[in-house]
Point group: D2
């Protein structure tokens, strides 16, 4: 029977991690289990940096970006020694299950650690890149998309007023989800993503063609994994002789007050993760699938994300 669990956040922080922590703690307490918070992800497990979280430990965090448990990279956890030390902490504190809030890397580590030491691990999908296979929406993606969209709306003012071309780089190392969502919602003219080869020459041809027809401003969204805004802007200037500017949104997309959606799914996923451990299940990640809370096995979640990008890409191009 589960008496005590621990929760940790690993990988890049995502807005909504705090509401997820809140749900794990309070739903755990409501189910008569104790919840410990581990600081700085796996590092805290290795170094015994953890403490019991009370009902009030998570007061007021629902509206805050980032994570009160902090997060860190932890190469040591990839070593046998690191893992042993982490397992010792699990034993020492009689932790019956681990809730890991994070992304692909976090789930890979949890999958291996859980199997090797027979520690029930369950994941909550939190990643602004929305890049977890089998899961439609992760915690943080909606917030990041809205932050990027606000930036695009701002840039549109200048693009229209100064009649310029802008290349805007958004998050997404291996996954173009955010770029597509932002390009669609921003009414952007073009989008470059890692999953789809793009033809800059054709894009430039379209720009010149449109320019002759009187079109005066463009916003081209590029996922960071598909290229660098600065480089692409330079090439467009070279190819078209039209003034082109670049903006790299970077880390502003990572923080901020979580949106209602990022919070609501975080709270639901936190509950689901605790329920999973209570039922004696493990080795799976929770996220939103087809509009509802669902889980996928860690083994599936950590594969390269597959999703239907053609529909949205085609819609972007049609509506321009």
């Amino acid at each position: 029977m589960i008496k005590r669990i621990a929760v940790l956040t690993t990988g890049g922080d995502a807005p909504g991690m705090n509401p997820a922590i809140r749900a794990v703690v309070r739903y755990g307490l409501a189910n008569k289990i104790e919840v410990m918070g581990v600081f700085r992800g796996w590092w805290g497990l290795i170094n015994e940096e953890l403490k019991v979280l009370e009902h009030r430990s998570v007061s007021g965090i629902i509206s805050q970006g980032g994570t009160i448990l902090k997060t860190a990279r932890c190469p040591e956890f990839e070593t046998k020694e690191g893992q042993e030390r982490a397992f010792n902490t699990v034993k020492k504190f009689a932790i019956d299950g681990l809730v890991v809030i994070g992304g692909n890397g976090s789930f890979t580590a949890a999958h291996l650690f859980g199997a090797k030491y027979n520690v029930p691990c369950v994941g909550i999908a939190a990643s602004i890149d929305n890049d977890i296979n089998g899961i439609d929406y992760t915690i943080g993606a909606d917030t990041a998309i809205n932050t990027a969209l606000a930036a695009i709306d701002n840039i549109r003012d200048t693009a229209t007023s100064m009649e310029r071309i802008f290349v805007v780089e958004v998050m997404g190392r291996k996954c173009g989800f955010i770029a597509l969502a932002v390009a669609l919602a921003g009414g952007c003219e073009e989008v470059f993503i890692p999953e789809k080869p793009f033809d800059l020459e054709e894009a430039c041809h379209n720009i010149v063609h449109g320019n002759l027809a009187g079109k005066i401003s463009w916003i081209i969204v590029v996922a960071e994994g598909a290229g660098h805004a600065e480089d692409i802007a330079k090439k467009i200037t070279e190819m078209t002789s039209l003034e082109t500017r670049s903006v790299t949104l970077g880390h502003i997309q990572r923080g901020g007050r979580p949106t209602a959606f990022s919070r609501d799914i975080a709270l639901n996923l936190g509950k689901a993760a605790v329920d999973c451990l209570l039922k004696g299940e493990k080795d799976k990640a929770f996220g939103i699938v087809n509009g509802h809370v669902a889980s996928v096995d860690f083994a599936t979640a950590i594969k390269k994300k597959e999703f239907n990008l053609e529909g949205i890409y085609s819609l972007i191009k049609t509506l321009t």
Copy 2:
């Protein structure tokens, strides 16, 4: 074969109506059909207030709240004479199909008008109340929820600083969806909705009990259909002797820049509605169901919304 369609917005405006109009117009044009915009909903159809919308007619509206086609109540459309005049406009302008962006009332009217005069009508679910049966998400709901949440976050600052009880009235005449979503995301202590009887005495008992235990602030969300914030606040003051304030968010929830989600679904639903007419289908409303674009028959959509509110209500209470 469809050559020309018309689009109109009716009922209360919702953020995302403009992106929906954009999609109907541009997706229509991309499919070689002409799109006319009707002004002020059914009134414009009766009074021949409509015009052809070009590609550029919808430039720059993607980020704007409200509706460029305007909207209005139209009691005249409930009369036979009004309907005849509207049908005459449909004939005169050789309109092969109508895209109706709106809510329950709009769909009821479209359902009847379409059947009576054999005019293919298709609906796009747009309503900040998210009260359309068979549809999980309407255009505008996500924006309204985030607007209400920002207000709740602001109020939380004062509730905490001044240690007070607040009753906050949000949209939702017959449907508690928004109230539940906001109460959950806002970490609110209680929520009153039209679908569920509530016991104010019990709520007051909880407040007094919590107060004795050191809890110092409450936010109680009430859907407008469940009661008035002002009245409830007065009763709480009477019953508990604790200072209680009320805020009625009202129309601020109706406008504003649409969120990414409200825009993205609006664009997808606009495409789907046009596709529906192109395929020769009709008499159905499009919305988001299980995370994807889907349709329900008008006859279903206009029934009282059924949705599982117990799960979310129970989560709100558990996490408080």
Copy 3:
């Protein structure tokens, strides 16, 4: 010589109080004085609810609305017994000076208490009403104005889309400053403030006149001290037969992330208040006058605010 001071926040909370506390604490520490934080305003002084604030006690609060020191009404401080107890706390903790962050009521109390018990008191003007005499800008006013303006912008979407008249009630019990600033920035058609009698009949005449000329939407801003939005809306409907809606923004204007201006002036005023005590001065309130940090005697600050409202009122009417 000043060795230890205390800081408290009283009256209604205002966004920027936290940055002001941060400045008082850190600027104090930088000047080798100890700073105690008193909880719940005068109540905390009476009840010995105070503690030493360290450098890190104020970490991360710069971006938060409300006040970490909390605030409360305190009728007991109006009694001799309450004042004696407060003075005992001052003596017991060897407090050499008090920084009072608040508005008129707070300064009145500080003025009397300081004189009666010879306790050096200095004020920092914080009030979303911006109603302190002799001071152009208080902490919080800019944030409240921007919050109200965002609401007005939202309402404008609906006013335009549905072609309606809106009456929007904003903060300002005795002072129309916020109403004027918001009405000007919101492009509102009319504004009613406590300092200036208004003629509702004339306003209705203008509305009907404009309506006949094709003007379709109005937003009328009313300061809470000049009347209630609901009542005014009803009267306009009666007089004009045009549909009129009301919105009372209420407490959403009180909280929220402080704007850059509210923070920057809070930080500067915090420093100025500590400098004042260090110089052995007292009995004055600090605020922004003519664009810069300045002080006015408490005796002046607590009088009814005088400011030139005709210029801005006339500009609003001219630009409509």
Copy 4:
């Protein structure tokens, strides 16, 4: 006597230019003069791209970033031929005065053009850099500062959660005003501006020193004219071995809904500029000085801005 004036926006767009245009048009009309809008700045004057603006031409623009008149660089206006053509337009359309909304470059051009051809020119200070000499606040600065601050607040979430150093580049080629305002309001630890030599080695020393004392995150603001965030971040990593990230906010600071302050001053300055021409005055720029509308001669305005940066810099360092 003035019968017709023209208004144009030049240089980089700034949020609030639209409200300024609104004020010039409507205040002009209220004073019985006709107002023409010139498109794309000086280019429009050279190429006769201008039209009469009516009362409704400026409806709804008060809340929009950018400029409906568009703006452009115009090297041709630096040539004699360009100026002659512009003057011909002035004569042809019987323009009695020019209102130039822009920054230093715009005022330099207006100063020369006005003197050479005896065309009364008056300027309205609009620049997100707030870099106009003799003027405390330009249109757009407050909005840009708040946009940058929102970004900094977001970044703070990650800086704290991941315990990292961030270097954030904000606007300000020759002027550190925005950087200072943002760094102060954001609670940033360091700021580098063009007006003040900075010692990166010393900054790194402070970081390492703080790091040893347990301080875990830093945000360093750098004005674009003082260095590039990316380069500085690299050097800090080299010198301290601590992970440092850079973000360049870029053009997101240029657009967006103008804040209440940016709108209110724009409207007041628009009125003042028209009044100036009506009084037969010219060759001066209007802005906010000491909290009020004021003017400085173009000759003064176009000098390098002098302002007291020591006070604010010292406050930033003291409060860290």
